[in-house]
Symmetry: C4
Subunit: 367 residues, 4 copies
């Protein structure tokens, strides 16, 4: 009953009250000057929508499917670390249940505070496993195998975070995992690792964990190796350059997420939305292209699709919903977004996701 | 004597003091992020006017006529719901009398708190009836017939509101019709409807009424049907796309209002002014093209005409004038606007509305 | 000694303290939304200067001459009404003396609080008479003859103020001439006129005076008539359109001031600087082209000259200097501006006004 | 331990607390309206970086060499007057030691509060001497000879400050050298000079010193003369125009710094970054081109290199670091910047300075 937020911007304000400063900063911040975080929102605002009138909009269908994964709307929950900071009881499990209840796919981060088994136990039939490639390939292989066995529907390989971005707020807060939470997937690693994430003597513990474990010598050769050990669709997340998209397709990925990691990696990287058309042009329909970063409104989703995206990932608002209301909070976030998509489609004269095309867009205005 | 506002921006500040929060929010707000409300104003600012000097401007004539409807200036009062929120005694009747006193056409909304008979009784000989097409076509037919019989001069069919935009302020305020007011035109509907608009248990009652009654399966086929039951000029209001303008002309309308409904429907829709030139180009003079959204200054009216509009509709300032000073307040609003148009025409070197053309405009600056 | 302002922006802040609200508002304000006042400043900011290095700048000469009128810098004092509001003792006489002391031409407004005889008595040998053309041509002829006899060096005919702009601050303040001041040139008119300007029963008295006396049927035919009664150079002030500049030249003017009257006439008129290049192109060197509006810095003067102006008029800062320090205040204003011009020329690699050309400018950035 | 600043913007806030107002204003301010100071930062923001993914970034090398001068990163400390205002004990000596500790070249200003001998004594093997050319060429010759003898590695001739820019804050503060500090290089001049800089009876003493001593009749002929008396590389600092760059090369310079002197000379000069591509195009690789003004982030350095710079100069943050923490403060400034460069290179997919090229850049967005 306390869930009074009316949109995905408002939920952030409410979450800010609920979260510790350390958690809020970790969730909200970007790297360096946070210019890319701002750009992610600003870029959506540059596009205006040209609606069409007097089309029969008595039935508007927001349903959507890619990689055989069905969704009640063209939105997936983005992989995000440590839901336990928002809801130490519910954690990723609560988010996953909310996503299941709303018919929305859920991406489970490597850096989760829940286990693959717990996600399986929710019964969500559209969970995706996000993979940070660490040096220890035996552990990588074990994760992939387990994800496949536990019914995950795809793998999302993050390629923009071999090094962690310079998030000053975390350094200032000496960000560390609070007691009572564990990075469950990392338990396959030597015992020291989680401890490391918890130790905050000198700045962000997460930063140190990454430096220690994540493989910063990774190259595209990883994709064929991964292909050889799994039958799941492989989606790469975190590229921006059309040239990288071309490489991704050549190395055999099944899908691409154009993303700047929510403005948390290279500062002054362009928004995913800005690069989307060039990536779509490079990919030429060979694989689906998703996009994320800054999606907050139903009209944002429509803009992304009109620019060629197959779907969008939704990040922070999910964590904020979880902080404000646990599973119910996430459900409200997803429901509000679906309502906005549905109403905006109706107002724009679209009755199905397929109706959303470039003719809905006016040329971008200047930032 | 308390009418001290000097322009149509100031009247809003004063009205804000007079109105309940619920009423002010309802009048002022837009949908979602209200980006389109802001764009409506911003877009006018992009245009600058290049005046001509030393033309004899001792006589400046602001008079204007379209559809055989004469006006003391190229401005009509826009159709707006529920004037009774601003002046529960005067309601649309007071506005209509003010418009008559100033020689300005008045558009009467379907969702009025006065009746067609009351408007007729004002003796205004330039009233237009705005039509929301509801599922019950018998009632639609009855409205049209009655409007015609009561001397209304044209029908304005609103085509951008088959679904109501997401106005969060109204949801937050649980917007509902205050006691003592009734949606008089809706009394032809089953008794439950007005009651519905009044019930605010769960968010905006108006939203529920729309969902229940307005026909969201409407298509352009409605125009020929309407043509078949009336001899009045049919003006469609609320399209933005040149393609829709082409359809409108093909389906036989007599006039078009390029409008985004004051930023209250699809958020991120462009301003009417932005789309006006493209619509004018598509229509090629076959029918007059009006525009609305954000008109607040005499120079705005001149800009709209210079971009090809035959006239503009004036929205919110009329309601604000009504709130501040009843009929006299509306008269002052209209008088101030006429004064500004007249003086700006003189300063720009124009002596009649016909003198206002594209050569007055400089290329738009960037937003 | 209290003259502490360091530039022509700061002097406004200090003047605001010295002046009555009525006077400050009258001096500072623009018409309607004051968009053109803001644009006048903003447009200068769009231009950047590309300096050249290692030119011998040990001697920088800012001197300048047009119409045989010499100046210590390419700046004239603009015609402005009622200096007596800033300094009721000194009035235009103090300003004129300051201009003379600094070697700067002074333009004396029709609407002055001093007389032609008083200006002559200052001994300034570079005074210009600004002419508002009123209906009573006998009085116009008398002014012109007297100006010529009293040694004025040119006539500046203002062509953008046959009607007075809508200055809301003046209406709000019921602007009127304070006791002890008289519009001395208007004493040639029937006794009632100055009284009229003083009566503030209903809004700006100045507005009423203008409406009563100024000839709003004026056309370009006035120029040949004026030519026929005087040997002084005739400069028209207040056009913006290149087409009007062409007319002005054809009707025989000797010079042009591209101006929007300091943003006090048609709101949303472009800045003079914006139109300057087009006017210069139209005039093709047949007569000198000056510009005004928003000049506050030495770099502004350099930008105007680089865009083709022969000189600039300086408006409000002169009145502010007068308010802050009487004659000495105006001298400081002019001295600071000359210092800035001289230093900026040196830093840019220019040693004389003739060196200032288009190659100093970079393409304008966007507003 | 009190060195808590996390980046080169934050250090300014902390320095503001440590410095006297006179010193802070002198360090931070620009000329006139300070538009160029702002532009220096704004222009960097216009560029976004397009990162490449999945390149092996386990070894990122930020090392760099030009003119045989090696650096741990493509950054030099800019020449700046009077470090003694920040740290009256440490002065330039402390800065130089910090630069040496970090492997970064240090440029020593003519207007230093330390002597050439003191710099030599630090043992830094990559010091550059910045030369203000004064009228007294015997002193100039003596400086050059001494710099060469004391092991300085290059001469940097500043060409944009034959006259000092109009820094109003200094005039307001009557800026003067505090007791206990001396302009050591100027001691070769007649005894009166430093005294002059100290006397603040009427505005900035520095301004008067410059007017008295610096040679404002300097031309490009100075370069061959300088060439004839030294074997050191000659770098000119402070040009913006490609035409000046062409002259510089023709007159035999070995390097160019595109610079507007930190916005302290001609106001409304463009940022060095803006002119960099045109200068690089004019120079066609004949000599290295450096740039400065507004560098605050690792991504700024990458942007400058991607636009063709060989290296950047870093100005104010060095002084701020010195104010906050003496030598250790400067070391932290340099270390933070190196960390940011290294991490940003890794995130962008670059492993050496040579990898940084134009393909990293997206077209500039509008200011
Ligand atoms: C707190 C937080 C943690 C994140 N953790 C991961 C992660 O573990 N793996 C990953 O691929 N992306 C991660 N991301 C990036 C998101 O998947 C996504 O790209 C981004 O948040 C989308 O932008 P948005 O938050 O503006 O919607 C994280 C983002 C946030 C805000
Ligand atoms: C409070 C309010 C109620 C409105 N009601 C109606 C309506 O009943 N029918 C309609 O066609 N348009 C309606 N509109 C839209 C107006 O006709 C018009 O398009 C818009 O207000 C113009 O923009 P402006 O208010 O900025 O001048 C309404 C607008 C407002 C502000
Ligand atoms: C208070 C005031 C009075 C003015 N009076 C006159 C006038 O009597 N005649 C005229 O031609 N222009 C008049 N102007 C316009 C100025 O000549 C000039 O065009 C304008 O002030 C230049 O802009 P600036 O004030 O930004 O420098 C007046 C301007 C001001 C501010
Ligand atoms: C306080 C201060 C003193 C300076 N003194 C000199 C100087 O003596 N010689 C010189 O060539 N440039 C001097 N400069 C300019 C710098 O070398 C450099 O061009 C500028 O500071 C770079 O911009 P940044 O401060 O934004 O990094 C000075 C700059 C500052 C801020």
């Amino acid at each position: 009953s306390e869930l009074t937020f009316l949109n995905l911007v408002e939920v952030e304000e409410q979450a800010r009250e609920c979260l510790t400063k350390m958690a809020y900063d970790y969730y909200s911040a970007g790297s360096d000057t946070c210019s890319t975080v701002a750009e992610n929102r600003a870029y959506f605002s540059r596009y205006r929508l040209l609606p069409r009138m007097l089309r029969d909009v008595s039935r508007v269908d927001t349903c959507h499917e890619i990689f055989g994964i069905r969704s009640s709307m063209p939105v997936w929950v983005a992989p995000m670390a440590m839901h336990g900071l928002a809801d130490s009881q519910g954690r990723e499990v609560a988010t996953c249940r909310a996503a299941a209840a709303c018919g929305v796919p859920f991406t489970f981060s490597t850096v989760a505070t829940s286990s693959l088994a717990e996600i399986q136990a929710t019964g969500h039939n559209a969970a995706i496993f996000q993979l940070y490639v660490i040096r220890n390939r035996n552990v990588v292989r074990r994760w992939v195998t387990e994800a496949e066995e536990r019914g995950f529907k795809a793998l999302m390989v993050t390629v923009d975070a071999q090094r962690l971005g310079n998030r000053e707020a975390d350094a200032r807060n000496k960000f560390t995992l609070p007691p009572g939470l564990a990075l469950r997937n990392l338990e396959y690693l030597s015992a020291g690792s989680t401890a490391q994430a918890r130790d905050s003597a000198d700045g962000s513990g997460l930063m140190r964990l990454f430096t220690a474990e994540v493989d910063d010598s990774l190259t595209w050769e990883f994709i064929p190796w991964l292909r050889s050990i799994t039958r799941l669709p492989i989606i790469v997340k975190g590229l921006l350059s059309p040239a990288d998209a071309e490489l991704a397709v050549q190395y055999g990925v099944d899908g691409i997420v154009v993303s700047n990691h929510g403005g948390r990696q290279l500062d002054f990287a362009p928004s995913g939305l800005e690069m989307l058309p060039a990536v779509v042009a490079a990919v030429q329909g060979r694989v689906p292209v998703l996009v994320d970063g800054g999606v907050r409104r139903g009209t944002d989703v429509i803009k992304a699709l009109a620019l060629g995206a197959s779907a969008v990932l939704l990040g922070r608002p999910v964590l904020y919903g979880l902080a404000v209301g646990g599973q119910a909070g996430v459900e409200r976030v997803l429901q509000l977004l679906r309502n906005e998509i549905e109403l905006s489609m109706a107002l724009a004269g679209c009755t199905s996701v397929r109706d959303i095309g470039p003719s809905l867009l006016l040329p971008p205005s200047r930032l």
